[in-house]
Each structure stands twice: as structure tokens, then as C-alpha cells.
């Protein structure tokens, strides 16, 4: 139970809202119907603050803060959609499109891709940056799933769901910087790894990087909604 001291009031985009101490800006915004774009965040997994899409402005600070990990305080004034933020969001999305080989028309996730819909929502109409066209491979060694590194945005949702929820920690990131890659075990083919074949990484992957082979040619929506439910059931136990 919370006492009165735990309830805070704050302003998000000129709207007065109330929240509980310890809540993040993102939680409070979404509870109040204010949409802050996210990419690496998914309900039910630990946040890393890596994609920088959810950066917001907080009055009194020149520094932009990620809404997913920044907790609210009394009388906080948050702006979530200023021109400055919109510009940065578009540039970050452009950086992603130019980083690897994202070709929507041939992608299994076309029409169900978070990167794609986010770019549309944020008004990205073209990419000014030079395409890097890296030479990346597709690992189809797994009997049911495929990972196509061309479409990976390194959000690490797969790494987190495998470690935090499934408890297998088959995925991790190797290398660093622009050369970072998602790997299974000791950079082994996915099909020869210690994968438990639970398929959770497929459902949380925001793009067509990790997909179900049986969905090729069909629409492939993802369903990450099981995570908060799973957490709830575990806590209840």
C-alpha cells in the first residue's frame, strides 16, 4: 500500500498527471495516453536505455534523459515531443537504416516491423546518410527459426529475454562498436547451440531479424505481450 507521500504530481506535455514514486516517465506517460516512441524497451524485460528513441526533455536540465529508466519526481516537467527530440529521433532512425541492410519489401516482417512503423510515425521520408552495406550472414541452421543479421538493430531484446525470462542465456553480443554482433554460445551456429527452442526471442524481436521459418511468405506479426503476464504469474507464485 502506498501512503500520500508516495503519490507525486508532474506535468508531461502540458498535461498534469499523478504517479507513484519509483515509476518511470515512460510508464506514467503511457498510463496517461501519451505516446513516447521506444525500440529497445519491451514491457516485461529489464531496460537498458540503449536505443535513445525515448529521450525526453526535463525542465531545468539541458541533458536529454531516457524515459524508460528515468524515474519521476514531484513537480517534474517533461516534454516528450519537441522539435529537437523529433529531429534526433529521425536521425537515429536514419542511422539504423543505413547501418545494415534493411530492405522492407523482401522482409518477412514487412508490415509488422517496429522499425518500419516507427520510421513512418516519425516522418522519416528518406535516408541522407551513406548506406554502409555490410556483408552479413543469415544463420538458418536452426530447425525452426532463422536469424538474419542484416535486419538486426542490436536492441538486445533477444539477449535479455533469453537470460532474464527463459534463463538459458544462449544469446549475447560479441565484438564492439559498429562490429557488434548477436551470437549464440561461442559464436556457434544457432542450430548447434544450447538453445531450448522456446521461441521467446522470435516474439520479442522488433524486426525481421529473428523469425519463424514457417512464416516465410505469410504475415509474421510478433506477440511480445506474454512477458508482463508471465512475470505476473511468477510473482504470484
Amino acid at each position: 500500500m502506498s501512503d500520500a507521500g508516495d503519490v507525486k504530481t508532474l506535468i508531461i506535455d502540458d498535461k498534469e498527471v499523478s504517479a507513484l514514486r519509483g515509476q518511470t516517465i515512460l510508464e506514467v506517460a503511457r498510463e496517461n495516453g501519451i505516446d513516447i516512441p521506444t525500440l529497445c524497451h519491451v514491457d516485461g524485460l529489464g531496460d537498458v536505455g540503449a536505443c535513445r528513441m525515448c529521450l525526453v526533455e526535463i525542465k531545468g536540465s539541458n541533458k536529454l534523459q531516457p524515459a524508460c529508466v528515468t524515474t519521476i519526481f514531484e513537480s517534474m516537467e517533461v516534454s516528450t515531443n519537441t522539435e529537437r527530440l523529433q529531429k534526433h529521433r529521425r536521425t537515429i532512425l536514419e542511422l539504423l537504416f543505413a547501418e545494415r541492410n534493411h530492405i522492407c519489401s523482401v522482409c518477412v516482417a514487412n508490415g509488422h516491423c517496429e522499425l518500419q512503423s516507427l520510421a513512418q510515425a516519425q516522418g522519416v521520408t528518406h535516408v541522407r546518410l551513406p548506406y554502409r552495406n555490410p556483408d552479413l550472414h543469415v544463420d538458418a541452421s536452426h530447425e525452426r527459426f532463422t536469424i538474419d543479421h542484416n535486419r538486426c538493430i542490436l536492441c538486445t531484446r533477444c539477449v535479455r529475454v533469453c537470460a532474464e525470462i527463459e534463463g538459458a542465456h544462449v544469446w549475447d553480443v560479441m565484438g564492439r562498436g559498429i562490429d557488434s554482433m548477436i551470437i549464440s554460445d561461442l559464436n556457434d551456429p544457432w542450430g548447434e547451440s544450447s538453445c531450448t527452442r522456446c521461441g521467446k526471442c522470435v516474439q520479442v524481436c522488433p524486426t525481421g531479424a529473428i523469425f519463424d521459418k514457417s512464416k516465410i511468405g505469410d504475415p509474421h506479426p510478433k506477440y511480445p505481450d506474454f512477458l508482463p503476464y508471465l512475470n505476473l504469474m511468477r510473482e504470484a507464485k
Binding site: D172, M174, G175, S184
Partner: protein, 165 residues
């Protein structure tokens, strides 16, 4: 809780005992991963899959996490080094004083780019972030020995000395 029994050593190579010693010193705690990889590299010269697997299993670190750590830090090498290693410092002071010319000379002579070893396994060419001898820039290290104020000619001489050995 029963006492933890680490996995058996991969072989009777004595160097595994040294590696195991590093892990035992920390009670096989997960945070000893980087220290242990340092010991593997100083004992074997590099980290191969078998070594990373052994260390990961002993410390109960997921394989992918151990591999992620081994590839994150540039000090660790996953390939065996050549018989000799030539390192050119690529710090700022060395850059200003022409380290790029040293690297270019070495690349041309050896036919490899930094981070690689000649096909005959004789020489590995590396670059260093900064060895902290900036006042003597440009600096190179021949098998770890620091020499300063180098010219491309001196670098070639060093490579030739190794070649005739």
C-alpha cells in the same frame, strides 16, 4: 548447499593448473572472468574456444557471455600470435609524428594489415592505442621492447633481422 566441484582440466598440460589457480583464488566467482582470461592469454598466448569454454563452465558464466567478454576487449586475441610481434603505437602523439607511415611500411613489407599474422606464422602486426611513451613518438614495440623515434627504414630493418633468423 553442496560444495562446488569445478569441471576437470581439459588436459594434463600444466598451464591449465595456472589457469585454475586464478579461478580458485577468487573462489570460482563469476567476476574473475576477465582475470582468468588474462591468465589464459599469458599462459597460452591467445584464447581459443576450448579455453573460453573451460573458463566459462568453471566460473558458471554462460558461454555466449564469456565469448562476448573475450571479443569486447582488444587486449584479448582469439588467434595464435606469430613467432614475432611488431606493434606500432597509434596514439595521438605518434600519429602526429608519422605513425601512419610506419604502419604503411609494415603493411607493404608484410602484406598484411594490423591485427593479422603473416601466412608463414612469422610476424604478427599490431597497433596499440597508446603505450604511454608519447614523448618519444613515433614508438614501436618489437616483441614487447619499446623503441622510440622510429623511421620506416628502421622498422624494415627490424623485420629483416627477424626474417634472416
Amino acid at each position: 548447499m553442496p560444495a562446488y566441484t569445478p569441471p576437470p582440466l581439459p588436459s594434463d598440460d600444466k598451464r591449465w593448473k595456472i589457469v585454475n589457480g586464478t579461478m580458485r583464488k577468487s573462489g570460482f566467482a563469476r567476476h574473475a572472468l576477465i582475470e582468468t582470461l588474462h591468465t589464459v592469454q599469458s599462459s597460452f598466448g591467445y584464447l581459443d574456444d576450448a579455453a573460453i569454454r573451460f573458463v566459462a563452465l568453471s566460473l558458471r558464466v554462460p558461454l555466449s557471455q564469456a565469448y562476448g567478454v573475450a571479443t569486447f576487449y582488444h587486449y584479448f586475441s582469439l588467434k595464435p600470435p606469430g613467432k614475432h610481434t611488431l606493434t606500432v603505437c597509434a596514439g595521438t602523439a605518434c600519429f602526429i609524428k608519422g605513425a601512419d607511415k610506419l604502419i604503411a611500411a609494415a603493411e607493404e613489407r608484410l602484406g598484411i594489415v594490423p591485427g593479422h599474422t603473416t601466412p608463414d606464422g612469422q610476424v604478427s602486426l599490431m597497433t596499440a592505442r597508446c603505450v604511454g611513451a608519447c614523448s618519444r613518438a613515433p614508438v614501436m614495440l618489437a616483441d614487447g621492447e619499446v623503441t622510440g623515434e622510429r623511421t620506416p627504414e628502421q622498422l624494415i630493418e627490424q623485420l629483416e633481422r627477424w626474417a634472416v633468423e
